[in-house]
């Protein structure tokens, strides 16, 4: 399993100021979301933008090949299900996601998740879990989902490893159907 972070992949040279700002914002994001206390230790910039949304530049919504917008650019999934990983994902799903999503095709607050791994790329699924607000603002598919369901998907402060586990649980669910 490989998860690569976008900010590690691109070099700073040749980037627009907007993109640099986005990087800074994403740096903040990954930093805060990884911490359990919910505090950010990064230096406080006087003229920082008020919110992550405000800084997200137009250029961020480049063609994402259906991978979505967020920290995850590449996910390798095996041919078979990693049962242990899916088990971890099940626990996380029940704690953080099941208040709004069913594993069947039934809509509750958000869409039913049956077949989600067939409809979406694995990167998209993880980015949606990790970066829901930016996704519903910039990713065309996520935008449509927000228009349909009208409730902003909550950011449940899931880290990348956990999002990967939840993805595996979805894959297992879809294989079983």
């Amino acid at each position: 399993m490989k998860i690569r972070n976008r900010k590690n992949k691109v070099s700073a040279s040749g980037l627009s100021l907007g993109a640099m700002l986005l990087l800074a914002v994403m740096g903040l994001y990954s930093c805060t979301s990884g911490e359990s206390e919910g505090t950010g230790a990064e230096a406080y910039a006087q003229d920082q933008p008020a919110s992550t949304e405000a800084a997200a530049p137009e250029t961020a919504a480049v063609a994402d090949e259906g991978k979505g917008v967020g920290p995850v650019t590449t996910v390798e999934v095996g041919a078979d299900i990693d049962a242990a990983l899916a088990g971890t994902g099940k626990g996380l799903f029940e704690a953080k996601c099941s208040a709004c999503h069913q594993l069947t095709d039934q809509k509750v607050v958000g869409p039913g998740l049956a077949g989600v791994t067939e409809r979406r790329k694995p990167e998209w699924v993880m980015n949606m879990i990790l970066n829901p607000e930016e996704m519903t603002k910039q990713d065309p598919t996520a935008k449509k989902l927000l228009a349909e369901h009208l409730t902003q998907m909550t950011n449940q402060n899931v880290n990348e490893q956990d999002a990967r586990a939840i993805l595996e649980y979805f894959r297992q669910n879809d294989k079983a159907i």
């Binding site: 406080y44 933008p49 208040a99 607050v109 950011n155």
Partner: protein, 670 residues
């Protein structure tokens, strides 16, 4: 017909002219009519200097006392935007503080549940003589208490009652490394070391009435407070205090009034002596005496309430002893320095050499010298004593006097560039003078009756000398009228140049007394955004929807509920009877910044809950009527916020409706 609006404007003009004239007559400096006219208006560039563009943040946080509101308000500076109101000693219906089962214990005292107080002085915690942005300490003047606010969460973390105090005005003052927070008594009362009740008459004031100075130890890591010891002091009124710095770091100074020890009509009785005292206490020596066991153990009874960070539940502990130091048994502990009568502020300059005492009824401002104080003590240049505490000779300690500063000096702050700024209550102005020669160099009118001043870090070793905030008692015509009760005003003044310039005024809550301001960068990066659900160790937390349930225990019904955009689980509840004690333990399942959920029930004789993401809060409800009762989320959370609601069925007393609950199609077995 002349409107009220026109009238007040005319009155304002007249007042401004009158103030200008008064200024000129009592100022010791050249001050032209033109100068005064300019000073009474806002600086021409004021709007750009206070403008903080949408989405941008202020430079500074300012923490203002809410006075009789019992709260602390937080303002962004220079915009003057109110950012938050933090309840401390008062119940707050906005977020259920003091109403929820978790927070009620914060307001416990030896007098019972006291849901209000008179909050006067906020003081920021310190490291090496500088504010560090960790905690804010505040006092309760009425039912003597000291509170600690956590600046990661902007919540009240701890409240401790102060025994042997009757009016905790002279409080709370942190030492330079936050070793102690020090609190002095306002009203002296009969105190005896045996802790016995005595049927004292007012005529026995001089013999029986005493004051106390409390030394509250602060844990370096957690901030937890502990009353280490008290010094029993002469029965005066202790007004304000301030710690030394640099060479005077080991000392803390207190202004006193009523050295006449009158018990009645103090307005006259406490203004008889030409001089009152500045009490100087060597706190390091006091701590040493206490460690060496020079203390008397005295029975006491006081509450100490703390909020647990992980459970978000406050608990009360009753303490039954206090250690007392008697100055007459501790040589070198305490001295009295004469100051002009009825002093208010005592402010030590950034170098730690000058102690400025503002005598409300004095025509000069005395500046005492710390080095002179030490020499006077060394030479034993005393003019008498009070109960064994030496009185130093005024002239020997004095460094100089600020002549004709204005009327009614109250409080002084410093800009770190060699200037002092003193508020003038009676003549409604701020006066700038030089520490080098005690000469007045500038003055600016304020509207009206200014109390305290604050310069960010103005009481530390290195002030942030760009702004000064004047906190005014009377507003009259400054804002649109709102009936007899008006908001008090704070005025932001630019002190970066030679001349003070008015930038902005903004309304405040309650009666603001002192304030503290601090660079945003010392607080903002550490601000908590949500509580981790994993770390929520509240015993009634429900961390996933599948664990939600309703349980009956005798006449108590416990609802273990969750909230997430945009539903409550369960949202249909039955099996509750009239007269039951129903406890809603609501956990907010969100893990996202700025998504609290509210929870309210129709007709509840209480308040609501406002539950932060990842936290659990409990609302008690005793239904009085049978019927279907709605409940809902009060804090607009999503497009479907209005739909975030549910029903509770209340059956008449005696009807045995079985407990049942559900949300949507999922129906857990009861």
């Amino acid at each position: 017909m002349e409107t009220l609006y026109k009238k007040v404007n005319k009155a304002a003009l007249l007042l401004a002219v009158a103030a200008g004239a008064a200024l000129q007559s009592c100022s010791g400096i050249e001050s032209s009519q033109a100068n005064t006219a300019v000073a009474s208006q806002a600086d021409a560039d004021a709007a750009t200097k206070v403008y903080v563009a949408p989405g941008k943040h202020d430079e500074l946080y300012s923490f203002m006392s809410g006075g009789f509101s019992g709260q602390v308000s937080v303002y962004g500076i220079p915009s003057g935007r109110q950012l938050k109101v933090i309840p401390v000693f008062s119940q707050n219906p906005e977020n259920g503080y003091g109403y929820t089962e978790e927070s009620k214990a914060m307001l416990n005292t030896s007098f019972g549940f006291v849901p209000w107080d008179d909050l006067h002085h906020p003081k920021l915690s310190r490291t090496d003589g500088m504010t560090d942005g960790r905690w804010l300490f505040v006092n309760a003047n009425n039912t003597p208490r000291v509170a600690r606010l956590d600046l990661k969460t902007f919540e009240t973390a701890e409240i401790m009652e102060i025994p042997n105090s009757a009016g905790n005005h002279c409080s709370p003052y942190p030492t330079n490394d936050n070793e102690y927070v020090i609190a002095g008594t306002r009203f002296s009362v009969p105190i005896n070391v045996e802790g016995k009740y005595e049927d004292v008459n007012f005529s026995e004031y001089k013999d029986k009435f005493k004051g106390s100075i409390s030394f509250v130890k602060v844990d370096k890591k957690t901030g937890d407070m502990d009353l280490d010891f008290q010094v029993l002091v002469p029965g005066f009124d202790y007004d304000l205090a301030n710690g030394g710095k640099g060479p005077s770091s080991d000392w803390v100074f207190f202004t006193t009034y009523n050295t006449e020890q009158a018990s009645t009509l103090k307005e006259i009785g406490a203004s008889q002596n030409d001089k009152d005292f500045l009490a100087a206490i060597n706190w390091k020596l006091a701590a040493k005496y206490a460690r060496e066991g020079k203390t008397h153990e005295m029975p006491a009874y006081y509450y100490h309430n703390k909020l647990d960070e992980k459970t978000h539940i406050a608990t009360s502990e009753i303490k039954k002893k206090v250690r007392i130091l008697l100055p007459e048994e501790c040589p070198g502990l305490m001295y009295l320095i004469p100051v002009p009568k009825s002093p208010h502020g005592i402010d030590v300059d950034p170098s730690g050499e000058f102690m400025i005492v503002s005598g409300k009824l004095a025509s000069i401002i005395p500046v005492h010298s710390f080095s002179n104080m030490l020499k006077t003590i060394e030479k034993k240049d005393f003019i008498g004593d009070v109960g064994g505490i030496p009185i130093l000779r005024y002239e020997s300690v004095l460094a100089g006097e600020v002549k004709e500063p204005g009327l009614g000096p109250l409080h002084t702050e410093f800009d770190g560039k060699g200037n002092a700024y003193t508020s003038m209550f009676v003549s409604s102005e701020v006066v700038k003078w030089k520490l080098k020669d005690f000469k007045v160099v500038d003055r600016i009118p304020v509207y009206y009756s200014v109390g305290h001043l604050v310069i960010p870090g103005g009481d530390t070793k290195k002030p942030y000398g760009k702004y000064l905030i004047a906190m005014n008692k009377i507003t009259k015509d400054r804002y649109l009228p709102t009936g007899p009760e008006l908001a008090h005003s704070a005025q932001l003044i630019d002190i970066s140049g030679e001349k003070m310039k008015l930038l902005l005024d903004f309304p405040t809550i309650g009666e603001p007394h002192y304030a503290q301001a601090i660079e945003a960068g010392k607080i903002a990066p550490n601000s908590v955004k949500f509580y981790s659900l994993e770390e929520n160790s509240h015993p009634q937390a429900t961390k996933k929807e599948s664990d939600t349930r309703v349980e009956r225990k005798g006449n108590q019904v416990h609802v273990y509920m969750t909230a997430i955009r945009s539903h409550l689980t369960p949202d249909n509840i039955e099996g509750v009877n009239v007269g039951d004690e129903v406890y809603f333990h609501v956990t907010n399942l969100e893990q996202d910044w700025d998504v609290p959920h509210g929870f309210a029930i129709m007709g509840n004789n209480n308040a609501e809950l406002l539950i932060m993401p990842g936290a659990t809060q409990t609302l008690k409800w005793v239904p009085q009527k049978a019927g279907i009762v709605p409940m809902y989320c009060t804090d607009f959370c999503s497009a479907l916020h209005q739909e975030m609601q549910g029903y509770i069925k209340v059956s008449p007393k005696g009807v045995k409706t079985p407990v049942a609950f559900s949300t949507g199609g999922k129906k857990p077995a009861a």
